[in-house]
Subunit: 368 residues, 2 copies
């Protein structure tokens, strides 16, 4: 392999594929990035076997070939290169790659390129488009509600349910749930019900530029996201997602309307005095005033927020961190909060958006 | 105590004195900030017994008094308060302080104010002024060369030597040394030779606004820095600072002139392949070219930098991290580097500044 590329483009590609490199993988070669020079392009590939990213850039290929370099060294080096043409030259005898820039050069010892795991791009007919901006919104509004390292893998995932031209996207860690619905053009005949790892979506929006349209292809156990020169492939999560429709309350005893920021700030102040492990805040509603209170060894907080009230007074307690996450995801100046009782999930939604909501399970207080 | 203050001013004062709070101090009350309302001001004080900061702000004192609140809670709370007048009200019975803002309030449990250590502001005739900008420059160019947690405390300090109207400032951890000299107006008759803890200077420039002039008072074992409403008091380090004049080479075998940025970037790239614990880079000079090289298990680096050479070729090895620190502190586009041999300290100085230099001790390589 002998190939010349521009530093900035090389850096961009390295930083994109690096997101799929697993530093803790037992297979040492997976800590590497595969470089392949062919057809006036360099293809960079990395994978942790759950997810893989491939990215290509224009290059002057003098001699085609492939090499695998430790991601850590090559990314740190490329980041620090001067802004000149960069020559990558694989030394076939030693397996190292020499990176030449101006009068200087660095040789990095690599891995045998042929031992890098195969990385087929899945293909199929089940395909649709989503603007990167929409994906970004879904990550911001939905993925926070997914679990991490849960024993039941379905809770680490995000349900994508495409039916009758509508996409419904849901995540839940059983303590909270986020749901969004959006119409998709030209998708009336596609039926999809898949669980995408939350991590895949989080990484995806980091590597796709905001103004792009992402082409999505779904196969039996994989999903491919494609935008221009970047492909992200991920396994899907196997299993049955819980019946979320059953969980969302259809009626309520109380509904309040209030300013998102006021509740977010009061909750944040109130949780300052709680213990990190159990940031529980109490809420009570009386006469168009929502009272947030906390009483701990460190002191006590009493916050009052004016609200528009319909229905009965209530008392309920929430995990302040979970409530904060839900409020941050609302994306609306005002929200509606609906409650049916101190142990039933609260429903929060933007005041002007019927297609998004979050559920939040209350905390049972001792003596209540 | 009952006192009303503006949120922003209160926050500013809390963030300043907080820098003297020791989170790991065995005396719990030292994790607190003392508030004292008197004479239409609030005085905030914090100390870790090595260093103390006092800061005052204008306030409407309804009832004078004092209270000590945990720095962690009060600073996090004030940061998150709405931008409204804030009432602080000490509850004499419980020892807590209620912070009232709009319709809401938080009570924080405090410490007995009378148990907070006494905090006398030292006074004396040995006093001079330094612009905050000059202090900032000294911290940037000198303090990096001081040691941390050294068994011999003098190496944690910075020598301030004022004599004949010139201030000389020096720090060394025995591996490197930084020296600066500057003339001080109206100080011809002052003789000072003190060692200030490096940490004191680092914190000082964080709390003093850049455009202020700092009044400095020196007593036998303390130093006071004063600018407007802020006082920082620190103990001085007792002991004999090494004779730095003896260490600075007076002649050289080789002198080179080169671009600071080129050496800094080459050194940084070269050190990427070294082990974190021993980032050693080799330098050799031949025919107006400085070669930086590294050869490790991960690969090898060969960087070439054009230089203006006077004198003999050389070979020397440096700790790349120490060299990087020295180069960052130069503040000059071009530098002079003087060498007398592979085991004698290298001297680095800005090309246009005779009043600043750094020494760097070479690393002895096996087999050299």
């Amino acid at each position: 392999m002998r190939v010349v590329a521009a530093k900035e483009q090389l850096l961009n590609a390295v930083q994109i594929v690096q997101r799929a490199v697993s530093v803790r993988n037992p297979l040492p070669i997976l800590s590497g990035i595969r470089f392949e020079a062919v057809d006036n392009k360099i293809f960079l590939t990395a994978t942790d076997l759950d997810m893989g990213i491939r990215c290509s850039l224009a290059a002057e290929v003098i001699e085609p070939g492939a090499a695998v370099l430790p991601a850590r060294y090559i990314s740190e080096l490329v980041r620090r290169l001067p802004d000149v043409p960069v020559l990558l030259r694989a030394e076939t005898v030693t397996g190292s790659v020499t990176i030449q820039y101006g009068q200087s050069e660095t040789s990095i010892n690599g891995y045998p390129a042929e031992e890098f795991p195969d990385f087929p791009i899945p293909s199929g007919d089940l395909t649709f488009d989503l603007p990167a901006e929409v994906l970004r919104g879904l990550v911001r509004q939905i993925v926070f509600a997914a679990a991490n390292n849960e024993n039941r893998p379905v809770f680490n995932g995000v349900l994508f349910e495409l039916h009758d031209g509508y996409l419904q996207v849901i995540a839940t860690d059983t303590y909270r749930l986020a749901w969004r619905r959006l119409p998709l053009e030209n998708c009336e005949k596609i039926d999809i019900n898949i669980i995408i790892p939350g991590k895949t979506l989080t990484e995806l929006v980091k590597v796709i530029e905001p103004e792009k349209v992402v082409n999505i292809t779904v196969t039996e156990n994989q999903i491919l996201f494609k935008a221009d020169d970047t492909c992200l492939i991920s396994r899907l999560i196997d299993g049955q997602f819980p019946n979320y429709k059953q969980v969302i309350p259809q009626e309520h005893l109380t509904r309040i309307r209030l300013k998102t920021k006021e509740l977010a700030e009061a909750t944040e102040r109130a949780s300052l005095l709680t213990k990190d492990g159990s940031p529980i805040v109490k809420m009570s509603l009386e006469q168009n005033t929502l009272i947030i209170s906390v009483n701990t060894e460190a002191g006590r907080v009493h916050e009052e927020i004016p609200v528009f009230q319909e229905g009965e007074p209530f008392q309920v307690a929430f995990n302040a961190r979970y409530l904060g996450d839900v409020l941050k995801a609302m994306g609306s100046e005002e929200i509606i909060m609906e409650l049916t009782g101190p142990l039933s999930p609260g429903v929060l939604r933007p005041v002007d958006d019927q297609e998004y909501l979050s559920l939040l399970l209350p905390v049972r207080l001792r003596g209540v």
